[in-house]
């Protein structure tokens, strides 16, 4: 199948699913209403309700998504920079690596759901900082692990090369390790971007009066599944868009990763 027909096929499949969902929902709900039970739409949303929510509350959902996005993006960027800094320190100081690496792993072993309240207590309810911090915590770890692995498992030939050229540790980092670890960013970004959104939303659940995480919790209490579903879809779309952007942009940034045909 070519690209076009593959896209068409998946769109068709999703449409069938959505229609199926709508039809079953309506049938069930009708039965419930006839027998005098509460309408299903207090607990679940049908595609038409979600669509309504998008139309009626679109502005709210959009602005709250932006709030979450800003927090997640800040968290992601700080997380990546932090990971680079820590990986850099690890490369230069084996002692620091021995001391800090287990600690880094240990911090990651804390369930973030349990750790987030700790952070929110420290940085305060409804503060930008506490939400960003949760997001940093969740996004920096995969980046650090990948960067550290690429620096410590340097190919033997590159070690030979730096011996031949008598490279200093810093030159080695600048000329060999740093450039070759940039593509790692592509891999970890795919993991870390959705993770940082999760982090931000978790922070918002627990300690914010803004953001998509907050909106989801509110719509749960207010029995508004339409807004809840619409919020989820909007966050998922944002996350997806970012991953697609990365897929598109990295061959331009790192042309040496492009799979060109060999010359002969």
């Amino acid at each position: 199948m070519n690209r076009k027909s593959r896209i068409l096929a998946s769109i068709l499949f999703i449409t069938i699913l959505v229609i199926g969902w709508q039809v079953t929902f309506s049938l069930f709900n009708e039965q419930r209403l006839v027998s005098g039970q509460t309408s299903l739409s207090a607990f679940m949303a049908s595609p038409s309700v979600v669509l309504d929510a998008f139309i009626l509350e679109g502005n709210l959902i959009f602005s709250e998504t932006l709030v979450t996005l800003a927090r997640a993006a800040t968290g992601f960027i700080i997380g990546v920079i932090l990971a680079f800094v820590v990986a850099f320190i690890f490369f230069f100081s084996p002692v620091a690596r021995i001391l800090l690496y287990p600690l880094t792993v240990a911090i990651n072993a804390f369930p973030i759901v349990g750790f987030a309240p700790v952070i929110i207590l420290i940085f305060g309810q409804n503060s930008f900082l506490s939400i960003v911090f949760v997001s940093v915590l969740i996004s920096y770890f995969p980046t650090l692990v990948c960067l550290d692995a690429s620096a410590s498992r340097l190919k033997k030939e590159y070690i030979d090369l730096s011996k031949v050229l008598n490279l200093s540790r810093f030159q080695m980092y600048r000329k060999i390790i740093f450039p070759s670890s940039l593509p790692v960013l592509v891999v970890t970004a795919k993991l870390s971007i959705p993770a940082s959104i999760i982090g931000a939303m978790l922070g918002e659940w627990l300690g914010s009066r803004q953001g998509i995480g907050h909106l989801i919790i509110i719509s749960m209490y207010q029995l508004k599944p339409g807004i809840l579903y619409a919020s989820l879809i909007s966050v998922a779309l944002v996350s997806l868009v970012f991953v697609i952007i990365i897929e598109r942009v990295y061959p331009l940034l790192f042309p040496w990763l492009k799979d060109d045909l060999s010359n002969d």
Binding site: K175, N263, D264
Partner: protein
């Protein structure tokens, strides 16, 4: 460099070199190796695989440190010399940085070498690309090159800053016969032209005979020198040489020395 005025016949002297890898029980490594090399010589080490040829080369290049014995260069311990970044080294696997183009890869040693001025780098690079006949690949990334071309680039990177000593560890072993013959010829030409003192580890006796002025036959392990052969041909080293009787005779006598040593064991 002052080296051209100071033409001592013995450039590099190795004396009673011993080396063992830790935890190997003294089996691997090299033992009691002594020889003298003069400037501009192309020297090959041949021997059965696993005998310690690479270890010897890595000792000479200063990647490993001998347990006993001494390597001196122009009468001084080689350690001081190695700090001056005046060696070239090529591995079996071409060592090119994937994120740099061919040209940028060749530029790398020049960027780091303190004696090169920025404006000369580009020119120098173009010269070497032309010398190796790879100018058309200058904007390619390593993954876009064939095995032979990458090895050429790797060799160009090793010689671009005119090293005084060139170490080649089975540089062409993974390349097809036809390309290898051409690369061997390139190697001889480049080494002769620039008077590099070259050390080549190879398992191909033909390659050793074609390229070298002198061949050391090693037996392992630990590696010891069991034979030495000076190579002199009546014609220049080109592909026609490989069809001549004297070439076959040289290769055969090399083979005999190795076989005799294998039987002794």
């Amino acid at each position: 460099m002052e080296s051209s005025s100071n033409r001592s016949p013995e450039l590099l002297e190795v004396q009673d070199l011993c080396f063992t890898y830790p935890h190997s029980g003294g089996n691997k490594g090299v033992q009691d190796i002594s020889f003298k090399i003069s400037r501009g010589e192309i020297v090959s080490f041949v021997g059965p695989s696993g005998c310690g040829k690479t270890t010897l080369l890595r000792l000479l290049a200063g990647f490993l440190f001998p347990r006993e014995g001494e390597i001196s260069y122009k009468g001084l311990p080689i350690k001081d010399f190695l700090k001056a970044r005046k060696i070239g080294y090529t591995n079996q696997i071409p060592c090119l940085l994937p994120h740099r183009t061919v040209e940028e890869n060749i530029m790398l040693p020049l960027e780091i070498h303190p004696s090169f001025q920025k404006r000369n780098i580009k020119e120098k690079c173009t010269n070497i690309l032309t010398a190796f006949n790879i100018l058309q690949y200058k904007n390619y990334y390593p993954h876009q090159l064939s095995g032979g071309t990458s090895q050429k680039v790797s060799l160009a990177t090793a010689v671009v800053y005119e090293p005084e000593l060139l170490f080649l560890d089975e540089p062409f072993s993974s390349i097809d016969e036809f390309t290898r013959e051409r690369l061997d010829q390139d190697l001889v030409e480049v080494s002769r032209m620039s008077e590099y003192t070259t050390f080549l580890v190879t398992h191909s006796l033909e390659e050793a005979a074609f390229v070298s002025d002198r061949i050391f036959i090693l037996s392992g392990s630990p590696a010891t020198i069991v034979g030495e052969m000076k190579i002199k041909f009546s014609c220049s080293r080109n592909l026609a040489l490989k069809q001549r009787v004297e070439f076959f005779e040289t290769v055969n006598s090399l083979k005999k020395i190795i076989e005799r040593n294998e039987q002794k064991k």
